[in-house]
């Protein structure tokens, strides 16, 4: 996708906004950067280099927020011995955005080993970002040894007992899901029965035209199950969201940007602020990938999301830290 200046994909669009036949899979590997604007049944993607040519209405919306992910504070191996430095670079990038985001989403793996000082360091660095509100969901590295007790004490205020929650911003409905707890041998990420029941109830009374943004750590689509990059019961969650015309799913975990559009749902994974991981199946394991030091910031990044009210359009922009 990133190799082209513009892709336009049009697929058969039903009146309910859900298209079973339409299927688009486009991948923007870390370091490439792309802007995707979805409106109705049409998705347009642009390389970041074309952003200056675009009108502000196209590129910016009435609601702007930033997703960051996989800070892995405490990691100190050769793939990145300074994860605090690269998180600070991410904050600088956020503060330099032309439209100041209203808030940030952190899609998990805040810490590397769930140590209090790791969370403290991230909190301290993120205080330097212009948006003061940060909404978190846990990664598996944030709930080690204590089944997420510490995470919930720090970030779980106002959430349900399992840590999931929802909130509304300018007509869009945001849903933070937890899929890193109670993982079963041989399995993938899990949402669980209780959370799924809550989700069904949470969206039941919303208008079909309400834009939905779901965020969770492990991808809610099957990126590469062989490496555990998927969620066992995500299909059930997505079934509850079928009625909505615009659903955007934001995930982390895989330390690279990737996008898929299926019917009314746009799936997007964010880059890590700490270290890259290999493309699916392109290495023996999904462990940290060492790149030459001068290239590191080109494979780390942030994701900027803009929502234009009334147009049902969410623009997802990945930027590297380089």
């Amino acid at each position: 996708m990133a190799g082209k200046t513009k892709d336009e994909i049009q697929y058969d669009h039903n009146h309910d906004g859900i298209d079973r036949r339409g299927f688009l899979k486009c991948m923007a590997w870390a370091g490439t950067g792309a802007l995707c604007v979805m409106s109705g049944g049409v998705l347009k993607s642009y390389s970041l280099s074309r952003l200056p040519e675009m009108s502000s209405k196209e590129a910016l919306g009435e609601l702007s927020f930033v997703q960051i992910s996989d800070s892995h504070m405490g990691f100190n191996k050769p793939a990145n011995p300074d994860v605090a430095g690269t998180l600070k670079a991410a904050v600088d990038k956020i503060n330099a955005l032309s439209a100041a985001p209203e808030f940030m989403l952190h899609t998990g793996d805040i810490s590397h080993l769930s140590k209090p000082e790791e969370f403290d360091t991230v909190d301290q660095i993120l205080k330097g970002a212009k948006p003061s509100d940060v909404f978190y969901v846990p990664g598996e590295h944030d709930v080690l040894n204590d089944d997420g007790k510490q995470f919930l004490e720090r970030y779980g205020k106002g959430s349900k007992s399992g840590g999931w929650y929802s909130f509304d911003k300018k007509g869009a409905h945001f849903i933070g899901l937890v899929n890193v707890m109670n993982l079963k041998a041989g399995g993938l990420g899990t949402l669980g029965h209780e959370q799924l029941e809550w989700l069904e109830d949470d969206v039941k009374h919303l208008k079909h035209s309400t834009p939905i943004v779901v965020f969770a750590h492990i991808p809610l689509w099957s990126v590469y199950p062989e490496w555990g990059w998927g969620t066992e019961d995500s299909a059930q969650a997505l079934a509850y969201l079928k009625k909505f015309g615009s659903v955007t799913v934001l995930n982390g975990h895989i330390h690279q940007t990737m996008q898929k559009v299926e019917g009314n749902v746009t799936f997007h994974t964010a880059a890590s602020t700490a270290f890259p991981q290999p493309q699916p199946g392109k290495a023996d394991s999904p462990g940290p990938m060492k790149v030459p030091a001068e290239q590191l910031k080109s494979v780390l990044g942030i994701t900027d999301v803009n929502y234009v009210q009334g147009q049902h359009a969410l623009a997802v922009v990945d930027s590297t830290l380089a």
Partner: protein
């Protein structure tokens, strides 16, 4: 014969330990056996040991892992790079386990 079979399996499964010492260890029922965690996998994935043997897992990845019995028999704390976890198997049986952080990682200890 059963002891000999188990010992041979161990000798095949653990590099660097001579068959003679494994046999001696098996007879004394105080053998220590290593499982390496490398590239998001347990090696060897299936390990057969005599009753009373101790298994030590060592994490050689740059990412933390855990060693958790599927049936709740044993559970390590999170193991960072080069950290170890040991468990002594006092009863015969088959003990499946996995990494609770990366559940696609599974292994099995067979105690005879």
């Amino acid at each position: 014969m059963a002891v000999l079979t188990a010992a041979l399996v161990i000798a095949l499964g653990t590099l660097g330990i001579g068959q003679r010492s494994v046999l001696a260890g098996a007879q004394q029922k105080a053998e220590t056996t290593e499982v390496k965690i490398d590239n998001f996998s347990f090696g060897p994935g299936t390990l057969t040991i005599p009753v009373g043997a101790t298994v030590t897992w060592t994490n050689r990845d740059d990412i933390p892992h855990t060693v958790v019995s599927t049936d709740g028999v044993f559970k390590s704390k999170v193991l960072d790079t080069d950290e170890k976890f040991s468990f002594t198997f006092s009863k015969a049986g088959t003990y499946p386990y996995f990494c609770s952080i990366h559940p696609k990682m599974t292994g099995k200890v067979i105690v005879q």
